[in-house]
Amino acid sequence: MAPEPSILAVSVSPHIRSGESVEKIMWTVVACLLPPLILSIFIFGFQTLIITLISVASCVVVEAVSQKLLHRPITIKDGSAVITGLLLAYIIPPGVPYWMPILGSVMAIYVAKHLLGGIGFNFFNPALIGRAFLVATFPVAMTSAWLPPIRHASIFKYMGGGVDAVSTATPLYVLKHYGLGAVIEKFGSISTIYGNFFIGWRPGCIGETSALLLLLGGLFLLYKKYITWHIPVSMIGTIALLTWAFGGERAFGGDPLLAILSGGVIIGAFFMATDYVTSPSQPTAKLIFGVCIGALTVLIRLKGGYPEGVCYAILLMNPLTPAFELWFKPKRFAAQKGALK
């Protein structure tokens, strides 16, 4: 007789699982988000790293405390709070005081994520709620703490005060209030602008400026099949198309490329609008979702009170996700017609 194994696991099939896990997905996203952070140290200075670390640390702590308070399993190891911390820091200006991301993280993680049901049930993208809260509470800091990119100077240039003196304006602000001519006057010829903006050398939020590095990260997520192309493509395409049509002084005179390279379009399209919980799952629904975000972004940029609209556009669409899930369901095999004869 063979020896009887003492404890055999008995569970329902399947008995093998794919190698993917929530941790793997989340930490891959974290890795994809790191290059823009490193670049931003050189663009806006060393304090961006400090702001980001504070944001990440406070998101992780708030996540642990929230889960403890609400008697839920503590899941800080899964990396999702780290992503929220990174994203929150990436979409605030580089000249804000260090305590600001802490407030933002309480709002993002405790209120937007855990009070609304925890992961899988939250209606809104937590990082965006954190930012929206900060904009509403500290409108001056959040809309003026912009810094001009550092040129030929130390990365510690902006450390320890003096920030107010150098504060600048974002391209979108200049564009909204003074027109394309003023943008060119301030940031150089249009081809210089495309080049610098693509790499990330422009005023803006901490991690949103480098279209290049964010695109590389986004493409890696696409390659890993962690996200699909539908939302980024439809959202960016819509912004380009509508800006071209309505964003200029005459019809079809807008600059679509400038529109995509400024503000938070790339980071929003690849890293925020694609958030699993707060975006639909079916391809058609994703396309419509992306188009709506793009259209709302352009609407806010052109007609709204703020120069940038990506954040609110995504937040406006987030709560419609359950409805999208209801309207667009997978096509049932059994509902298809038989093809006999």
Binding site: P14, I16, S21, V277, L340
Partner: protein
């Protein structure tokens, strides 16, 4: 490399094939065990009544259990010997079942079978032989074959599909049967075509079995087909290619309607192993009392493809193969995607056992499950277009009875959803619970 091959369009996954452990190993016969436990519920359908008594002498191949009602199939003695007991034994799926235990008479000579000419037999005659031999679908749920081969007259069946897809990882029994018994399988297909009164058959084989495809093609070209149109259909490697509905769609493009059966779209599917058993039943008059199984996984000392008697205990097979490895964590009867985990090695092989897997900790994944993160991967993986994520959330939320809207009853538990779920949610388990509680309505 899989471009242009036949496949089904929606869902499916690519688990590691893990067939290299056994695919090159010829089938070897396991010595007759000292006793066998022959379960009276071997398969889908009514249980058998014993037709022997305790202490009766039986010979290899004798009928020992039979069933009058609808969907049963007879069972036969797999060894010669004495009926030791009629009681209960562990069952691989239903946990406990009535059982006839036979003590083997090691002196008894093995039974010999002579081939006979079948072409003069009528359709009824052929079906009677299949019924008498107790043939069931040995690749799946064990549906009695004589019933499956008697579709209602209004079903206009025009196509037979021989299922050699063998899409479950690890399993290599159909692979070996097609390599080693290609002629018999073709002959079996001809018998089925004769019974159905049709001409056309496709033999579906996934292209990871290139040698089997070649062997079957060669056998087709050498066989005297007398007007039958038999073709080999190479299939893309994608799980669950061998599921009836998916296979029919891959090969014929036809879609079996919800709650419908293959014959609703004019197709009958028979597994390659069952086709070989049909050949044995008709040409050799040999009942189904032994079968080929794959024994594999990193937890067994010597993986193998084995010819075993029905009723052989897993523990006897383990001894034959040199024992188990220390890190064994799970024993599964069947494939890793749809098979059943058993708590002990005391269970006997039944007609539908396609393999026994001895899996170690690194082959399975026992990490605890988390919340659904709504990645939607399960939706994409489900070949039936269901919403396993919602079913899981409803079941966890105590609303199992409201899950029919997500199609629980169309789920055939292929496991694709749970396989891909990054949160490791036990979706098939949730679905089974939902099926018990939900009211059947579309």
């Amino acid at each position: 490399m899989n471009k242009g091959l036949l496949t089904f369009p929606k869902g499916g996954v690519h688990p590691p094939e893990s067939k290299e452990l056994t695919e090159h190993l010829p089938v070897e016969a396991v010595p007759v065990p000292s006793q066998v436990d022959i379960l009276l519920t071997q398969h889908f359908g009514a249980p058998c009544e014993p037709v022997v008594k305790k202490k009766d002498q039986v010979a290899e191949g004798d009928r020992i259990g039979d069933v009058e009602a609808g969907l049963g199939a007879s069972v036969h003695a797999s060894v010669s010997g004495k009926v030791k007991n009629i009681g209960f034994a562990a069952h691989p799926i239903t946990v406990r079942a009535p059982c006839i235990t036979i003590e083997t008479d090691t002196e008894a000579p093995p039974r010999k079978f002579e081939p006979c000419e079948w072409s003069s037999l009528s359709k009824e005659g052929l079906l009677a032989k299949i019924k008498k031999a107790g043939i069931v679908g040995i690749g799946g749920a064990g549906f009695p074959t004589h019933v499956k081969l008697s579709p209602p007259p209004e079903a206009k069946v025009d196509t037979l599909i021989i299922n050699g897809a063998e899409c479950e990882p690890y399993l290599t029994t159909d692979h070996r049967l097609m390599l080693e018994h290609a002629e018999e399988i073709i002959e079996g297909a001809k018998i089925i075509l004769t019974i159905l009164g049709i001409k056309q058959a496709h033999i579906g084989i996934e292209v990871n079995k290139a040698d089997a495809i070649e062997a079957m093609m060669e056998a087709v070209s050498k066989a005297s087909l007398n007007g039958f149109d038999v073709k080999v259909a190479p299939l893309k490697v994608k799980y669950p290619q061998g599921s009836e509905k998916q296979l029919i769609q891959s090969i014929t493009g036809r879609k079996v309607p919800g709650f419908g059966l293959p014959f609703d779209v004019g197709v009958i599917v028979q597994n390659a192993g069952t086709t070989k058993a049909i050949y044995d039943a008709v040409v050799l008059d040999k009942p189904l009392y032994e079968k080929v199984i794959t024994v594999s996984g990193k937890g067994i000392k010597r993986p193998a493809n084995l010819l075993v008697r029905i009723g052989t205990r897993v523990s006897d097979i383990v001894s034959f193969l040199g024992g188990i490895n220390e890190d064994l964590a799970k024993v599964v009867l069947g494939g890793p995607m749809m098979g059943f985990a058993v708590p002990s090695l005391d269970v006997p092989v039944i007609k539908t056992t396609s393999g026994i897997l001895f899996l170690t900790q690194d082959e399975i994944d026992t990490s605890p499950h988390g919340q659904c993160i709504r990645c939607g991967w399960c939706l994409e993986a489900c070949p039936m277009g269901l919403s396993p994520n919602e079913i899981g959330i409803y079941v966890e939320g105590g609303q199992a009875e409201n899950t029919a809207q997500f199609g629980v009853f169309e789920c055939f538990e292929c496991g694709c959803c749970a396989y891909v779920c990054p949160a490791k949610r036990p979706l098939v388990q949730f679905i089974r619970l939902a099926k018990m509680k939900a009211k059947k309505s579309m």
